[in-house]
Amino acid sequence: MLIPLLEHELQNLLKSRRIYLTVTMFLLLFATVFIVRAIDFQKQINQYNDDVMLNDKDLREATNYSQIKPRAIQKPIIFSIFNEGFKIPRVITIQYYEPITNTMTLNEETNLLYNESTQLDITFLITFFLSLFILLISYDSVNGEKQVGTLRILMTYPLKRQSFILKKTLGVFFFVALTFTIPYFLSIMGITYHFVNVLSLNFFLSAIFYWFLVMLFIMFFSLLGIFISCCTTNPNRSLVYCLLVWIMFSIVLPISWDYIIAPRLYNDTLTQLSQGYRDKIMQAQRIMYNDVPDEANINLVGHMNWSGRHFFYETNVAGWKATHEQHHRYQMYIYENYFPVTRDAEQAYDEIQRKRIYMENVRNWVFFYNPIVLFNSLSAQITGNSREDLLRFLHTTRELRDELVNLGVSEEWLLDSRFFIMYELETDVMYNITDQYDLFMLIYEYAGGHGPLEDFFNEIGEERAVGYLQEMVSQQERYNMVLPRFRRYEQPIYTFSEIFARILQYLVVFVVSILVLWVMTWRKFLGFDVR
């Protein structure tokens, strides 16, 4: 019984001119947004390749640890074509003496939560335009039929009222689902063809989940349009109601939450957390540059400089040993005071992010009936560019850093004297000491091409000086070891069950809200005056 009804409904829709206009508009929008996003993704890929090449070049050319600057490079998420999601920083430099945090500034961070809705991607297209289109197709599906008069005849047939509602819903649903599915799978095919070397199974899993979610979204809005259509007998009025509901769902409710309710609820906490983070960073900077006690203050015997690649201390050879010891004290001080605070700063940053995730969850539970909000966050979860993924990225980066630490790189390195660099090594002095030419060449290279050795020799005597030099050479050998192979950070690949687990709770809410809406529509139509 349902099949002829459905067939008829689809034919009826296909013969309506309004539908063609709507579909054409949607297809145009889809194509435009897709092409823009695909071009953007190609740019991201190019940038990523450049970054990787730069990083590899650094690693290849480095002769010691001070010359490398390992980076965690985020591989662009191909699904960002469909869902831009949360903006994750592209490159994070793994520094041993500074906290690994988001590279965005604090000002941007505090406003980020409220700026997310401006992203133009397929998800925006679906939540903003497709919802409107569905309502524009379905607003008069019941009362329009009553107005034409066919509903009276239909109701003298042995049809249950549920079947009629089901026919209407499925008609709109199939139509819109087809309108979305065809360009969607075409675009997936286009991506498969064009970006074949960056594809993974994850992409196709996400694509299927995403499609499924869109189907639920379409189902909800088809039902909503039909529910509104049952609420009044005048199609003009139901059109106005539909527009009102759409404005409420897509604009008024989410924005009033973001700009009015959420700030009232969370601004204090967020400000407090941000302030805590800022304080930790300030404290770390103070420890690093200002609060150094005299016995550890390297500036008392030399000057700390920034070479563009790393810090070094300018000193003259006369104070070489004293400076060396001073430097060691300074590094011990950093190790004991600065490092714990930077770890605290990282923790504080994570707290902010966790609070934001909590806020998003609360938002989702508050708007459990609003598929626009749910779809936005669920699609970000599926495509792997949610705020959780940012945290995951940061944590993986820290793991990478700890891996380096375990290799004996960072803290130990910091305690060593490689930052201790002599200046103004004059080439003629070096050439005069011919018998130790090779040794001096090594020292010269090791010291980065600085330092008057002559004064040094004069002051402490040749024997002791040679002893120092040999010690330095042994250290140099120590650092000229083969560099560890840094693993390249990549977006973690989610399994089917992992993605499913991430979205399960809201998926259940989604499905339940559809069922509730179905029952409401059905009850409403039972009381609908078909005369």
């Binding site: 034919q11 009826n12 008069g149 005849i153 239909l154 042995p158 005369r531």
Partner: protein, 252 residues
């Protein structure tokens, strides 16, 4: 065939549209309901069709009760409204095909679901009701009112319901179309269909009806058969009832 007992309907606004209406129509008869606007003719038809629920009483068609088995009762009736409105985007044939497809009688205890419309040749039915061949595959939007009525009758025919409910079918038809339609209804009656028709057209009512009923204030105040009416002036009687002269006399 059709039996209405103590049917009453009070709307939410307190208006009593039907006041214990009792009515019986035997098989193969044309029953015409006359009455002023608001007398309850349309309400009665709406209740029989299941558009609105009654507040009291019951309706039986072929021993099937409206209150007990509303879905099955719908298989027994075919309804033709004042303006037969169909799906404008479809041709006459496609409309008929659709309604034929959905006129399946649902399965009951011991009976499988059947579709009585399957035994009809739809094109032939359309020709039988007098639709010109060139219009069969033409969009409904190009049809005249008379042609729509013909499609409506065709739809009622393929539903194969023994009972036809017509709500002011003659209003707005030109004389030729009215004549054709009347001939069509006679033919249906001769085929054994029972017809309940509400109308304002007293002369056509007298001409066509086997039984005429006059409704006033939600009640059936008079029923007279064709033979009883032959010598009387129906117009006179109708006006008497409408202006409540008879009722007053009775009360006195």
């Amino acid at each position: 065939m059709l039996k209405i007992t103590d049917l009453s309907k009070r709307y939410e606004d307190g208006n009593l549209a039907l006041d214990n209406l009792c009515l019986e129509i035997r098989r193969g008869k044309i029953f015409t309901l006359l009455g002023a606007n608001g007398a309850g003719k349309s309400t009665a038809i709406n209740i029989i069709c299941g558009f609105i629920p009654p507040t009291g009483g019951d309706v039986w068609v072929d021993e099937i009760s409206l209150s007990e088995n509303p879905l099955l009762l719908r298989c027994k009736i075919a309804y033709l409204s004042e303006n037969v409105m169909l799906y404008d985007n479809f041709t006459g044939y496609q409309n008929l095909k659709f309604f034929a497809d959905i006129s399946k009688i649902p399965a009951t205890k011991g009976n499988k679901a059947t579709n009585p419309a399957m035994k009809f040749n739809l094109i032939k039915v359309l020709r039988d009701v007098g639709l010109q061949d060139e219009f069969i595959h033409e969009n409904i939007s190009k049809y005249s009112k008379g042609m729509r009525q013909k499609i409506g009758i065709a739809i009622a025919l393929v539903k194969d319901a023994p009972m036809l409910l017509l709500d002011e079918p003659f209003s707005g038809l030109d004389p030729k179309a009215s004549h054709d339609f009347q001939a069509l209804l006679y033919k249906l009656r001769n085929d054994g269909k029972t017809i309940l028709m509400s109308t304002h057209d007293i002369f056509r009512a007298k001409e066509m009806a086997d039984v005429v009923g006059i409704m006033q204030g939600g009640k059936l105040v008079m029923t007279k058969t064709r033979t009883e009416l032959e010598s009387e002036d129906l117009n006179r009687i109708y006006l008497d009832y409408i202006e409540e002269r008879v009722v007053m006399e009775n009360e006195e």
